[in-house]
């Protein structure tokens, strides 16, 4: 069987540049809408899922789903420190970090307020949260009103910069350092001294949760069972990774949104593509008749039109990909981070990045839109009877 060359289909796309460009632009807009939403979900998931160390456990009061609404007594902390299966540092100190999470109001630099996650820590926190480091400035000095601020929050709040003065809770806090944590949600937190924070918030219990580094994966299961079963404290231990993954569940709403947008806009654009292809078939009736008379099979014609439709899809994708990457960069620089509230009611600041996988999904969608839009017109072209087609011309 003789095929029509691919170049024939591509040239046909180029033969009517305005009309093809319009259709490609429609497909491109679908690509942009889809990639931006997928990029948003991806960035949110990456932020939350990259948080947490697979060796760590989060210990909270039973029933708490975030360490902001939990209480742990000093007594429980002292007991857990000496449980078996906990990793120790060079000085033989157990790697247990007691923490107090409080969500005070904080004023946005752009006006309005939101809840920010403030984590009261002790120096041990930096050894248990191995991914968190001080990227600029220095460690805070306890009881001196000093704070470390996550990289994602810089500029978002009044005074959120080294040397700046943050106002939250009852006091004022001087920023002495910037936290970096590989893009994870710790970069959306403010860290201060635990005792100072407990005093500021007048908490009867000094801690809201405990983070524990286990000595080995085998110890993790045993330690969990022991903490869960201890009747004295009503505490519960969860792997840190699982804890952050469950925070990402709040992205489910976004999934539905993306699916809806992709479906509706995709079908709409498919209709648009079908329109262009129908017009193209109609305009080329004589040409198709001639091709058939020359001996090209129905299948060859069908294939040529399908390739033309796919080419439209690819062109639309290319256009859309460039625009969406540019838009994502514009949003990153223009808006800074995109705020998103997870279950904690505090804000996670996400840098909007379009990942290659998002583009791959959008590419598949664009070609699918082009090809399904092209199927019916391609059939019509293939079904044309050569004699009639030629006579009509």
């Amino acid at each position: 069987m003789r095929h029509l060359p691919v170049a024939y289909s591509v040239r046909n796309v180029l033969a009517r540049p305005t009309r093809s460009l319009m259709t490609a632009a429609v497909i491109a807009l679908v690509v942009v809408a889809c990639t931006l939403l997928l990029g948003l979900i991806g960035s949110l998931r990456r932020t939350l899922i990259s948080s947490g160390d697979p060796r760590n456990l989060v210990v909270m009061r039973k029933g708490s789903d975030n360490d902001g609404s939990s209480q742990v007594t000093l007594e429980a902390y002292q007991a857990i420190r000496f449980f078996d299966g906990i990793a120790r540092d060079a000085a033989d100190q157990p790697l247990v970090s007691p923490e107090l999470v409080v969500q005070p109001f904080i004023r946005r630099a752009s006006g309005g307020r939101e809840n920010v996650l403030v984590r009261g820590i002790e120096p041990m926190a930096f050894r248990v949260h191995s991914e968190v480091r001080i990227a600029a400035g220095r460690m805070l000095v306890p009881s001196a009103g000093e704070a470390l601020v996550g990289r994602g929050l810089l500029g978002r709040y009044e005074g959120a910069e080294i040397g700046g003065e943050l106002r939250f809770g009852r006091g004022r806090w001087r920023v002495v350092g910037v936290l970096e944590a590989g893009g994870s949600s710790f970069e959306s937190e403010i860290w201060v001294d635990a005792r100072e924070l407990a005093r500021d918030a007048k908490r009867p219990f000094p801690y809201s949760g405990i983070r524990v580094r286990t000595a080995s994966p085998g110890d993790m299961a045993a330690l969990r069972r022991r903490i869960d079963a201890d009747p004295r404290y009503a505490l519960e231990a969860k792997p840190e990774v699982e804890y952050y993954a469950s925070q990402a569940e709040s992205a489910h709403v976004l999934y539905v949104l993306v699916a809806g947008v992709a479906l509706l806009a995709g079908i709409g654009a498919g209709f648009g593509a079908a329109n262009t292809m129908y017009a193209s078939v109609q305009a080329r009736t004589a040409e198709i008749g001639t091709l058939r008379a020359l001996g090209f099979s129905r299948r060859a014609i069908l294939r040529a039109f399908e390739i033309e439709a796919a080419a439209l899809g690819v062109a639309g994708f290319a256009l859309g990909a460039v625009v969406s990457v540019a838009l994502a960069a514009a949003v990153r620089h223009g808006l800074g981070g995109v705020g998103f509230s997870a279950r904690t009611f505090t804000t996670n600041v996400i840098a909007l990045h379009v990942a290659p996988s998002d583009l791959a999904i959008a590419a598949a969608l664009a070609v699918l839109v082009g090809v399904t839009g092209g199927i019916a017109p391609a059939y019509r072209a293939a079904r044309l009877r050569p004699i009639e087609a030629l006579r009509r011309a």
């Binding site: 942009v32 809408a33 029933g63 708490s64 005070p104 009503a234 809806g260």
Partner: protein, 388 residues
């Protein structure tokens, strides 16, 4: 042939193309209407929950910073305050759910009814709440979710206080959307003291109902003046502003959604303009003949634009109807899967219908005028020469 029939006949000339265009425009209008329901949905949710005569008094630093519950008595003495109730977040997890799945607060049974008259709680049930120390009033949404009924006993494990409580449901808040549970402060206070802790001396929020809607701002100022320079300085705000601030951090997300909405709207203009220009170009000869027969430029222009308007407008109505059906489905789904909860609040309001239809009319105009102008402006002789 009347003018209207002429327009219709032209639309029918290529029914497949008209249908495809209408379909594309309808889908895009449906999408834009759906996205438009989101900010309106938030507002509607706030309006349904919030009253403009109710204010929230909380610590200036945030609701997690507590203030002395005794402060409520001082608030009640402020001129213009009709009622005030102290609330503490109990953070109770229902045993079977294993985590906190609905908001629950410790409240004063004797004051809560007067602060929330708009909730229309049965007075008999409020009396029972006063009578039974372990009583609880539960929102209908949560009652339905767990199949509870009045008279049931439910155990809540607090994530905040070292006191798990068994409560007896004595009443409901008759609103399908209401998720909250109220239990009594004195019951929790006693339980804490019995376990050797200090009692419940603090509150997260004091909710206040103001008698006169015109004096809300003055009352808020007077209340905040009470605690000036104390350890727990308060900040008052209306209920709507209080809940609205919960969504405040989402503004970046909202902006991205709006960006996408406008892209989609642009997309429809492209689709419609594309089709109109195709169909006008194909009819260049016919239009030239009409002109030669004596039809004026204006008449032909009107016909072409009317055609585009009719197609886009009809498609817009279809799109709005689709959005209406979809939000209905989402509401049904939200009742079935709790993680989709927020999507259940989106309703196609008359404002959204108006916006959707206005968008489609604008699309029809934009898509019809440019190609129609182009074809009408061409000299008749030139166009005819090309055809014959």
């Amino acid at each position: 042939m009347s003018w209207a029939r002429f327009v219709l006949a032209n639309l029918w000339r290529n029914p497949l193309r008209s249908a495809l265009t209408a379909g594309a425009v309808a889908l895009a209008v449906a999408l834009v209407s759906l996205l438009l329901t989101m900010p309106a949905g938030m507002d509607l949710l706030l309006d349904r929950l919030a009253s403009n005569t109710r204010i929230s008094v909380h610590h200036k630093a945030g609701v997690v910073y507590t203030m002395p519950a005794a402060f409520t008595r001082k608030i009640r003495q402020v001129d213009g305050v009709a009622a005030a109730v102290a609330m503490s977040w109990y953070g109770g997890a229902y045993e079977e759910a294993g985590r906190v799945t609905f908001p629950n607060f410790a409240v004063e049974a004797e004051h809560v009814g007067a602060v929330y008259p708009d909730y229309r709680i049965d007075p008999v049930e409020l009396d029972d709440f006063l009578r039974y120390r372990d009583g609880a009033i539960v929102g209908r949404g949560t009652l339905r979710k767990y199949g509870w009924k009045i008279g049931d006993r439910v155990t809540l494990k607090s994530t905040i206080y070292p006191a798990d409580l068994e409560v007896r449901i004595v009443g409901e808040i008759p609103n399908d959307a209401a998720p909250m549970l109220w239990l009594r402060r004195d019951y929790l206070d006693e339980a804490l003291k019995a376990r050797g802790w200090a009692g419940l001396g603090n509150a997260n929020v004091v909710w206040v109902r103001v008698a006169d809607p015109n004096r809300v701002n003055a009352v808020m100022r007077d209340i905040d003046d009470l605690s000036r320079n104390s350890e727990a300085e308060t900040a008052s705000e209306t209920e709507k502003s209080f809940f609205g601030n919960f969504f405040g951090s989402l503004d970046g997300l909202v902006r991205i959604i709006l960006l996408i909405t406008s892209l989609v709207a642009l997309c429809i203009v492209f689709i419609a303009a594309n089709t109109t220009s195709m169909s006008v170009r194909e009819r260049a000869g016919e239009i030239a003949v009409l002109r030669a027969l004596g039809f004026s430029r204006a008449a032909i222009f009107r016909t072409l634009v009317a055609e585009a308007l009719l197609l886009a407008g009809g498609a817009g109505l279809l799109g709005v109807a689709m959005a209406w059906g979809l939000t209905g489905t989402l509401r049904a789904l939200a009742g079935w899967n709790e993680t989709l909860g927020p999507l259940g609040n989106f309703t196609v309001t008359p404002a959204v219908v108006a916006q959707g239809v206005a968008l489609s009319v604008a699309v029809g105009l934009l898509a019809g005028v440019a190609p129609a102008l182009g074809v009408v402006r061409r000299p008749v002789a030139e166009a005819l020469r090309e055809v014959f």
